[in-house]
């Protein structure tokens, strides 16, 4: 399939662009941090190491992938290579989805590489659940970063939009809990604000419930809990891909 060639090009560009070194540095930083933390803890040092390193590696993986996607796409647009691609006998949807497949594959590779060190502190089944969830989360981030890089004009605005969507999705559960807490005042303004927060939550993926460090520390989730989490991310990836193809189809050549 010609679209898959675009996906392969994405992987080749990532390998040649230094992403491998950055990923290795992130892993090194995680392991160094774990050694440092082990000196400070008076109890639960294994849990402390697993929790902090997993949180760090998760953020690193997301940042590296988002930056890679945005930089790659914006370079392609700025060098006018995208216009050249549009002249190929390949539908716009195939071109967009081919690139997205490449970035998703890159996300899966990063997820595997970043999950492996966690085997030092957590059981294999928990690491597998965490790593698979991270792979889906990275696929979602890749889809978001590709959408924003294609539709927004600048690297900074695309990165900021991706980071904003990601961070808001990870904290929306806590924001909702605060908004509906028992100490919240009972007024019309507050009720409107609470409903607005609930409305925003409907448009966001539940990233606060996936790739949980809790799984590494206290045991893997059962299939009935885990499968809907992956399904939720898959739905959002499809939504972002559909929005991206829609926007790309409208683009003037």
């Amino acid at each position: 399939m010609p679209a898959l060639i675009l996906g392969r090009l994405v992987l080749v560009e990532a390998r040649r662009g230094g992403l491998v070194w950055l990923a290795a540095l992130a892993l090194l930083a995680g392991i160094a941090l774990s050694a440092f933390l082990a000196q400070l803890a008076i109890t639960e040092s294994r849990l402390l190491q697993a929790a902090v390193v997993a949180a760090l590696l998760r953020v690193c993986a997301v940042f590296l992938l988002a930056a890679q996607v945005v930089a790659s796409v914006r370079r392609e647009i700025d060098d006018r290579r995208l216009e050249l691609m549009l002249a190929l006998p390949l539908s716009r949807a195939a071109q967009y989805l081919g690139r997205l497949a490449g970035f998703i594959a890159l996300g899966f590779v990063l997820a595997i590489v970043f999950a492996l060190p966690l085997l030092l502190w957590a059981p294999a089944a928990a690491v597998l659940a965490w790593g698979l969830s991270l792979a889906f989360e990275l696929a979602l981030v890749a889809a978001a970063a590709l959408f924003f890089a294609m539709s927004l004009g600048q690297v900074v605005s695309a990165l900021a939009a991706t980071a904003g969507l990601y961070l808001l999705s990870r904290s929306i559960g806590a924001i909702q809990a605060i908004a509906s807490g028992p100490l919240a005042e009972d007024s019309l303004a507050h009720e409107l604000a609470r409903r607005a927060v609930d409305g925003v939550a409907l448009l966001l993926p539940a990233l606060d419930r996936v790739t949980r460090t809790e799984w590494l520390l206290y045991g893997t989730p059962d299939a009935r809990t885990y499968a809907p989490l992956l399904a939720g991310m898959l739905i959002y990836i499809v939504l972002l891909a559909a929005a991206g193809v829609f926007d790309f189809a409208r683009r003037a050549a």
Binding site: G18, I42, E44, S45, L47, L48, V52, L167, T213
Partner: protein, 240 residues
């Protein structure tokens, strides 16, 4: 990664000098700045668990443990003969409660409360932390009994408050249900009433904890043994 670059020796000497001076200025500036140590700083008021949860961006377990390390650093140093003496224990228990609410499965806050903060020589402060341990025990007795067992020992031997120690021991006896809780802990009240000194009681408790597999962490085992050695030294010097 390759770039088209001019050789280093082609750069003007002024640039080298400017770079070296800027680096020296940075190092000198930082070296003369007061250190950011929190050892002698006052503990700030505790944030709410909701605020900590929001700041954790969906990583409550990692945030709870990092918050514990942050808390541990206050008013403590190796040379400080009375660590935690100047700490505001009201704020401290608020912090511990918020951290525990952030990750209720973690034993770290209660372990630190019973084994570190409650061992202060200041009796009112110690009582405050022991009551905190007692209060939090009821949320999950089968997981939190070890901290309350130590609290019972402290109440008996440090505070010399036998009714308080019996209250803690009775709570363990009455509310723990799990078969993982060792028998000696379930019979804690008898253990408290026995006429034995603190060192013997601590030895039996540590031996029991190790034997029952309640201590999974090597650092925790090392820490507890170290505490036992401190107690032995203290009692030996008291006997002389």
């Amino acid at each position: 990664m390759t770039r088209d670059e001019r050789p280093l020796n082609a750069l003007p000497a002024g640039l080298w000098l400017a770079l070296a001076l800027a680096l020296a200025a940075q190092i000198a500036w930082r070296a003369h700045e007061p250190s950011a140590s929190v050892r002698e700083a006052n503990l700030p008021p505790a944030p709410s668990a909701a605020a900590l949860r929001l700041a954790s961006f969906g990583e409550p377990e990692a945030a709870a443990r990092l918050a514990m390390l942050y808390l541990q650093a206050f008013d403590y140093s190796g040379a400080n003969a009375n660590p935690y003496r100047r700490l505001d224990y009201g704020r401290l228990t608020d912090w511990l409660a918020a951290i525990l609410e952030l990750d209720p499965h973690s034993n770290y806050p209660l372990f630190a409360a019973a084994r570190v903060y409650a061992e202060t020589p200041d009796a009112p402060q110690s009582r405050r932390v022991l009551e905190f341990v007692y209060h939090e025990f009821f949320a999950d007795p089968d997981r939190r009994w070890a901290a309350l067992a130590h609290a019972a020992l402290l109440a008996k031997h440090r505070l010399k408050d036998l009714p308080l120690a019996r209250r803690y021991a009775a709570a363990i006896q009455r509310y723990t249900r799990s078969p993982d809780v060792p028998l000696w802990a379930k019979q804690m009240e008898v253990f408290i009433l026995e006429d034995m000194n603190e060192l013997d009681a601590a030895r039996i408790m540590l031996g029991g904890l190790l034997e029952s597999g309640a201590i999974h962490d090597a650092d925790e085992g090392r820490f507890l043994r170290q505490k036992l050695e401190e107690l032995e030294r203290r009692q030996a010097s008291g006997a002389k």
